[in-house]
Amino acid sequence: MKTFDYVRPATISDAIAAAAEPGAAYLAAGTNLLDLMKGGIAGPSRLFDVMRLPGLDRIERLPDGGVRIGALVRNADLAHDPDFARSYPAIAEALLSGASAQLRNAATVGGNLLQRTRCGYFYDPASACNKREPGTGCDAREGANRLHAVLGWSEACIATHPSDFCVPLVALDAVVEIEGRTGRRMVAVEDLHCQPGAIVSAAAAMRIEHGTIRDARIALGGVAPKPWRAHTAEKILAGCHPDPATFHRAAEAALADAKPSGDNRFKIELAQRIIVRALTLAAAGTPPRVPALPASPFSSAPGAFHDA
């Protein structure tokens, strides 16, 4: 690992000023950055440890019913916050499906949004990777690309977005509040070009009134360079009965524009099946407790729903 200076800015404005230096990087829990530094993929010359910045570790209820989550809230603390988990079960479950308990106890919400892709070529300094070093090419195009994107990819990069947490955030229209040198701004998670654990994942939510779907939200993870909102599928669901035929139609529409970027055609059907599964589970209502195996198709309960 390349050595670095280590600095702890005392305030948010100090931290913003510090980031202007060339070679500067912010360090929070470091569960992604330290990994990249050990592998020689990142080599910041100065680390600004933001873990102790004041006021960023709160989960606040907003008057409009929304919630504002501090960038330094730990993944585990958010997932296990009883109020939050009750209001946003899809987010809590997505958080608990990722990484391990040890990593979730350390990793922060802000770090989760900003983590880099898990593409193997990004992690190998000897490979060409436009994301790591723009202009060098993309070895994944002709390489081991079974787990790469089927939606929204380009010749320049076929890596998928790594976060499971961001998938329900996109389904729920979450925005990121960013403070910078030019002031504060709001960016939709969907437009945040940050760079899952899951091969393919889906988050779904529906408002069902008198047996009719009024409003639906679907987002996919593991299929695109960003968490992928399935707007067309949502429109198909609105006004329909929540039945398997409707769910299948929505799932087909969600993947209508998908094309394999390599040896990953299976992801298109897998994503469709996972959408049907997520919608079926959503139609059944929120369970009182997050399942023992969060966001998993596997179950130790005999006779459980396996093949949508």
């Binding site: 360090l27 330290l34 990994d35 440890d49 308990a101 040890q102 990593l103 106890n105 130790s300």
Partner: protein
């Protein structure tokens, strides 16, 4: 440039000078403080052999800089027994054969203590397995590990019932 941090390790507060900012908490524990019970497996946050408790919460000590833990209260496998009396989780691992080669065991035990403290798994073996999934055991002692955690969980519930009776 020298850095100075203060850590409480297994109840003892110490001031530590670091010449190199790259030292992880794991390397500090093993190489500087000679607490070699905490193991280095993958060194990339994937195997859990380096699990320690920071302020009572389990984390991977390989994935955190020692500098970032300034002021923290660290508990390692060396700090959980009381003299010759094993911690209940240590005793349960022995009773249930929750190990073979033993390399992952310190991390497994620290993780189990963290899991029980988190209070999310209860007596559901599936939740215990999921909660312990950040700790790999290449000998495959998983079933004994799950039984050990279940037993400690059960004895805690019984102790609570005795207290409230």
């Amino acid at each position: 440039m020298n850095f100075s941090i203060s850590l409480t390790v297994n109840g003892v507060r110490q001031n530590i000078e670091l010449a190199d900012p790259r030292v992880t908490l794991l390397d500090l524990l093993r190489e500087r403080l000679h607490l070699t019970g905490t193991k280095k497996g993958c060194d990339r946050g994937q195997c859990g052999a380096c699990t320690v408790l920071i302020d009572g919460r389990r984390i991977n000590s390989c994935m955190t800089l020692a500098l970032g833990q300034d002021g923290a209260d660290v508990t390692t496998i060396e700090g959980i027994a009381r003299g010759n009396e094993l911690h209940p989780v240590q005793a349960a691992f022995i009773a249930h054969d929750g190990m073979q080669c033993g390399f992952c065991t310190p991390g497994q035990i620290m993780s189990a203590i963290g899991l029980i403290h988190e209070g999310q798994a209860g007596d559901d073996p599936e939740r215990i397995r999921e909660g312990m999934s950040g700790n790999l055991c290449r000998c495959g002692a998983y079933s004994g590990i799950t039984d050990a955690v279940l037993e400690v969980q059960k004895s805690l519930v019984e102790a609570d019932q005795r207290l409230s009776a």
